[in-house]
């Protein structure tokens, strides 16, 4: 088939190019950019805005070195991703090209990256716990298969270490690593960890390093999630590690800015919520097929920043990491109620009681700072708080089974309180206090 070519680019910007007139390109279809003299392929680009006067493209490899003479060859299809079981154990870039220096892959099929919405009627209500061996998660915010949940953390927190720790114990058939704007050492760390835990052969890495072309970073989640979805459609349980979605959102902001879109908050486009939701909503337990669980990382300065704020409304909870501890107060697994009712009778009550006491303890802690926590009970609360942070909020360390973790909770309560002070029912006290 002879592909139509366009010979003149009229505008070249930071990540976008424009062509005058209407060359007949369709929305979201891909064109290939060719060096005018040699016909050497430079990059691909996607049509994002078409009018009678002008057609705009996002260039996957960046616009450095493009000239007005650069040729566009029309492919007349939207961006697709290759799919093959041979991808396991390998690394790819944001548009699904091999990026580990290894041999090219012969794909079994090309799949759409449009991320169509899954019909809600084929979703199963998630009911299977994913145990992590981290008490703070298993007891207080149980993770559930097909959940979408990010780690919220400051940029210097060990969020990647936590992500990789959760991945190591994960009961998944396939792990898809999707890294956007990573530093090389982060990429290297994940690769090491996945190799050491023996998971590398069931992992596919899609990586975009800081400084790589922005558009490739922008496309990465769509490519990685499309591949994940294909595995899930074929019956596999897939775990997707998505880090760091703040980097991704910042690329989205940059590109919206290049397109002169009206910003809503802090320069982000008004569509930030929908754009994030479109990706996170890929997580699903599919009737008659497999599942996709997404654990992400969202770095933040403040919880009120648009990225974590919008993410919180989209995801099914969040794990909040602060000073290396997994904090109870702002962490939440929205799906925990689906699974923590049929574990052990004391699971739910003890979770509620410890949280409520910790909230009181935080108040006492603030009061103590002005010397106002001078009564006996406040003193108890302060000691409890310290114990809780040291023994429960520590995410790193030996893996603990749920039963043992619950027993540990009772031990902490017993160390500091009288039974009635906990607000636990008589029945539970009789059963577990001694």
């Amino acid at each position: 088939m002879i592909r139509k070519e366009i010979n003149r680019i009229s505008e070249v910007g930071k990540a976008l190019i424009s062509v005058e007139g209407n060359p007949g390109v369709a929305l979201n279809h891909v064109v290939e950019l060719l060096e005018a003299e040699t016909n050497q392929s430079l990059s691909f680009a996607k049509a994002i805005n078409i009018t009678e006067e002008i057609t705009r493209f996002q260039v996957f490899n960046g616009t450095q070195g493009l000239s007005t003479q650069t040729k566009l060859r029309m492919h007349e299809v939207p961006l697709s991703a290759g799919f093959s079981y041979n991808m396991l154990g390998r690394s790819f870039d944001g548009i699904g090209d091999v990026a580990d220096g290894g041999p090219e892959i012969i794909f079994d099929k090309q799949i759409s990256t449009r991320l169509d919405t899954l019909n809600p009627t084929v979703r199963l209500v998630p009911k299977q716990p994913l145990w992590t061996g981290i008490p703070m998660i298993d007891v207080f915010n149980t993770l559930v298969k097909s959940q979408k949940i990010p780690i919220f953390a400051g940029p210097t927190e060990p969020y990647n270490r936590l992500l990789s720790q959760i991945a190591q114990g994960a009961q998944a058939d396939v792990i898809i690593f999707a890294g956007i704007g990573l530093k090389f050492d982060e990429y290297h760390y994940f690769k090491e960890q996945l190799s050491q835990s023996g998971n590398i052969d069931k992992t596919i890495m899609f990586t975009h390093l800081a400084g790589d072309s922005q558009i490739k970073g922008l496309m990465l989640p769509d490519v990685a999630l499309s591949v994940s979805r294909e595995f899930a459609d074929q019956g596999k349980d897939v775990l997707v590690l998505l880090t760091d979605m703040t980097n991704w959102s910042n690329i989205l902001r940059n590109v919206a800015n290049y397109q002169d879109q009206i910003p809503s908050l802090q320069g982000y486009p008004g569509s930030l919520y929908s754009e994030l939701a479109k990706r996170y909503e890929v997580a699903a337990d599919i009737e008659g097929a497999g599942s996709i669980t997404i654990i992400g990382a969202t770095t933040l300065e403040s919880l009120e920043d648009p990225v974590p704020d919008n993410t919180g409304y989209i995801t099914e909870g969040q794990f909040f990491l602060e000073n290396g501890k997994l904090k109870l107060a702002r962490s939440l697994s929205r799906l925990k109620q689906q699974v923590n009712g049929d574990t052990r009778a004391d699971h739910r009550p003890i979770m509620t009681v410890m949280a409520s006491l910790l909230a009181d303890a935080e108040k006492a802690y603030e009061a103590a700072e002005v010397g106002a926590a001078n009564d006996t009970f406040s003193q108890k609360l302060l000691r409890y708080r310290e114990d809780f942070i040291r023994n429960m909020e520590e995410p790193f360390g030996e893996s603990i089974e749920l039963e043992a973790a619950l027993d540990k909770c009772w031990d902490i309560l017993k160390r500091h309180f009288e039974p009635t002070e906990t607000g636990l029912s008589k029945k539970l006290i009789e059963q577990y206090w001694n």
């Binding site: 009678e52 019909n119 009206i262 929205r334 636990l424």
Partner: protein, 590 residues
Amino acid sequence: MNNTKTRTGKLTSIQDSLVKARFYGNVIMGETANVIVDGKSLQAEVLQIVADPKYEDAGIVEMQVFEDLTGAQIGDQVEFTGKSLSVLLGPGLLTSIWDGLQNPLYKLGEQNAYLVPGMKAPALDEEKLWDFTPSVAIGDKVTGGDTIGTVPEGRLQHSILVPFNFGKCKIESIIGKSSVNITEKVAVVLDSQNVRHELKLAFRWAVKSPIPFKERAIPSKTISTGVRVIDLLAPVSYGGTVGNPGPFGAGKTVLQHSLCKYALADVIIMAACGERAGEAVEVFKDFAELEDPSTGDSLMNRMCIFGNTSSMPVAAREASVFIALTVGEYYRYQGYNVVLLADSTSRWAQALRERSGRQGDIPGPEAFPMDIPDQIKGMYQRAGADQGTGGSLTFIGTVSPAGGNFQEPVTQATMDATGGFWGLSQDRADAKKYPAIDPLAYTSSVYDSFISWNDRNKMLQTLQEANGIDQTISTIGLKKVPVEKYILYQKGLTIDFCVMQQNAFHKMDACTRPERLIIINEAVQKLIDSSIDFAREDKEDEEVKELVKAKFDELRQWWKDWNVTAQSLDEMAVLHEKIEQFILQEEYAL
């Protein structure tokens, strides 16, 4: 309008979901159109009509397309329909689950597991037979909104209505008692212009034209929602409006689900607008197995769901809320009490923001359209009670304020537009005090409670005072607080812990009906009114406070147990005795 040939246009610009097309002839503001992309027909709505700068005899129409436009090109065909965005009203609405444009999701699921652009299915089952009983005879005069017959729909009698925009008509023919589907003709009417109209069980109605009231009334009958803090302190009446804002994680979803399960109403409509798909799925898959509190049927039999979840096309989000409202008005007109839960109105507002941004409108605060407060008010105004039909439409909208900040434009406009306001607080949620409705801040209601104004105010005042003392304790320490104040503080804590807080996941605690509320209120009032003179003897104040705390701790534990165990009237009555005892025992100790 009698156009014999379809009016068409050609695309001249495509940007995300916003397109422009050139047309010759006539285009109607607000009408729908189909954009033909790769042979698929995608639904669109006209937003604006402007002059064509290029051709004098042509015009440019700006439209939003409700589906993904990948593959669209300049020159693609547009076909105008002449009809504005509408919803199909008729028997079979209940138990249905649609996308935001009334495509039934289970039917679409038979075609593909994914929602692919261009997929369509009839909004209501066209084959199902309904037992029609006529209520008018040939020669009878009818007008828009009149009933010509009924069909049973589950437990409800579904009235078959003459479309609301019809003037005076005469029944020319009508079928007898028989089984018919919604595509069959049941009657023919002749209007005053001598034009004949066929009537079926179902008809289409434009979603932006509110269905009229027969006789609008002030909402006056309190709804039992089963949630104690609401029914006691911030109640809502049939036909009322409530805004329910809260930062993420504060418990909006759990509260919505509680209302779905326990609010007493004939019909519950859920507009899952831009929120998580999983939450809507939980409702139609898990709630189907739960019992309707008033009938004992499956809970789904009183529900219908519009799901424009967060990954579905944004342009259809605005439509989803209007479609849900129209269905609610339709059942209100039939005399039923309808509760519409819209989750979340912020996503709806954001959809308007995205659109106005693309259209290049001058943005208002936080880039929302300048007229967003008016649009929000207009939406809530469609709720209301109708004493002409005896029906009502209650609108409870959640709000998802950016950064949890209630000062943002959508929350503020909602506060202004609604009669009730349930503000969820992050602090309460962090302390796992659920439901996290903060009775002291941002929570209000103009509707009557199940308890008297006086009792309601006394309860609020005690909570307020206890909160004040709590702040004093954390700033100057417990030592400086007099014993009397400390007792008041403990009373407040008890009301909060045992009454305001409620376990939505406990079978019994999750729902409290008015008769039980009255018993609880009596206990609370007794506790507030009585002075409890704890045995002081020659104890230091600090020792007395410790004793007070221990006694109240014991009471709270007991009351919490009562919440989850006391079921029979006798068991419930024990609460009163316990409080009496709590007060008296201490007096004996003197």
